[in-house]
Symmetry: C2
Subunit: 226 residues, 2 copies
DNA sequence: ACAAAAGTGTTCTTAATACACCCATGT
DNA sequence: ACATGGGTGTATTAAGAACACTTTTGT
């Protein structure tokens, strides 16, 4: 490949991340509000252009740090999106490398504003507004990937708060995988994996019979759950 | 993103494909021999730099057509490789978009030579030489992806010749997945899927008891096999 | 007749599914 | 006392794993 060849001259690489967490038993995705054109004032996924001198993962982490303050995100590169001709106002021919990120929201402080963003929001995955660029497509694709990941025990541990109830866990699964499980069978399955333990505490969430609180064991192997 | 910013100026995108087929019951990958530096005379996967004005899939197909003549390949984008500082002689900061390709070798004519290649070879996956760039890493990763794909019935149909024997099929699985199956259980499993049928023909492969020839039914759904 | 690989059925074990009753809480 | 959601055990069904003998061909 020759540098002077016009065929190759105007290309660039975006890194874009759909960062998920669980809050109140619901799956949330992190959105930022753009300060500048294009798509000024639109909500968008976290991301930006890669520099010449950084590798992909470092670039993704830098963007996430700059725009949200988060620095303990677990990242999975899951897809590539062609941005040829799709991005108004960007004269480069861009390719977007899409990442899925996982954090425990309760252990994570986020910053509200940055150089290019004016707000930030943990948005319920079930109710996402129109996003900038083709970020809705990227998010949909990330949610599909999340369905694959959620059946791994070590992801669950990264995603959930320290203590949680069995119905919360089941709700999470049913929401992401979009199907229902029998309460008894679900419990049996999860307990048989031997990755969580009873804390001997209880909470009453909706003023009904209290549910037991569970927590993950200190070290768990990565097992497939469904 | 501003075009004049030096941070973004020298980036480019490679598309690279590990193209697989089955020959004599063995999994083969398509390699080309390079005509020019860097890595002159080395074997390599099929690929090259993306143009400004084409999208990723078109670029990949163009490269495959140019270097091998193949135009009926089924492509899956499966990973992205960071080539920052890894590629001698290439002044651009490259990212390699990696594809897995599937063809039926017997139905495919390949060309021996092209502008940048001097030879081409269906190489046994179990016995691959040192490749140019970091193509061995990419190939290993493609083989991992192939393990996921091989359990889908429609991939099998794309990969295998029109007629095949049960031991050939089993060998293929055992080679890719790196484990052994019981002959009777394997047969039972495959037949229960209802995607292949008996041709009432037989072949003797090694001068032993002949095996039955099977073929795929005309239309099969995509089912998970293991 | 013997070596080499192919074909075939049954039993056992394990995992997944279906299902009904009692319990603790707030109003 | 009642409405709401949480907790528990058993019986059935389906899927996967284990296993041995007979058949065909070439030498």
């Amino acid at each position: 490949m020759r540098v002077e060849n016009e065929l190759y001259k105007k290309q660039g690489i975006h890194v874009i991340s759909a960062i998920f967490t669980v809050e109140e038993g619901k799956m949330k995705v992190l959105l930022i509000k753009r300060k500048k054109d294009p798509y000024k004032d639109s909500w968008a996924l976290v991301g930006g252009a890669l520099y010449n001198n950084e590798n992909l993962n470092d670039g993704m982490k830098r963007e996430i740090k700059e725009k949200s303050g988060i620095n303990n995100v677990r990242l999975y590169q899951f897809d590539v999106f062609d941005e040829l001709g799709k991005t108004p106002g960007i004269p480069f021919r861009m390719v977007a490398i899409a990442y899925l990120g996982i954090v425990d929201g309760k252990r994570t402080d986020i910053i509200k504003e940055s150089r290019n963003t004016k707000n930030i929001w943990w948005c319920d995955v079930k109710n996402v507004p129109n996003l900038a660029f083709s970020h809705n497509d990227i998010l949909n694709s990330a949610v599909e990937k999340l369905k694959d990941l959620i059946v791994q025990s070590d992801i669950l541990k990264a995603l959930l708060p320290k203590e949680f109830t069995m119905p919360e866990l089941q709700n999470l699964y049913e929401g992401i995988l979009n199907k229902n499980f029998d309460r008894r069978n679900f419990r049996k399955k999860i307990l048989s994996l031997n990755i969580i333990e009873d804390t001997n505490k209880e909470v009453s969430i909706n003023g009904n019979k209290p549910s037991k609180l569970y927590k993950f064991k200190d070290k768990i192997e990565c097992k497939k759950i469904f």
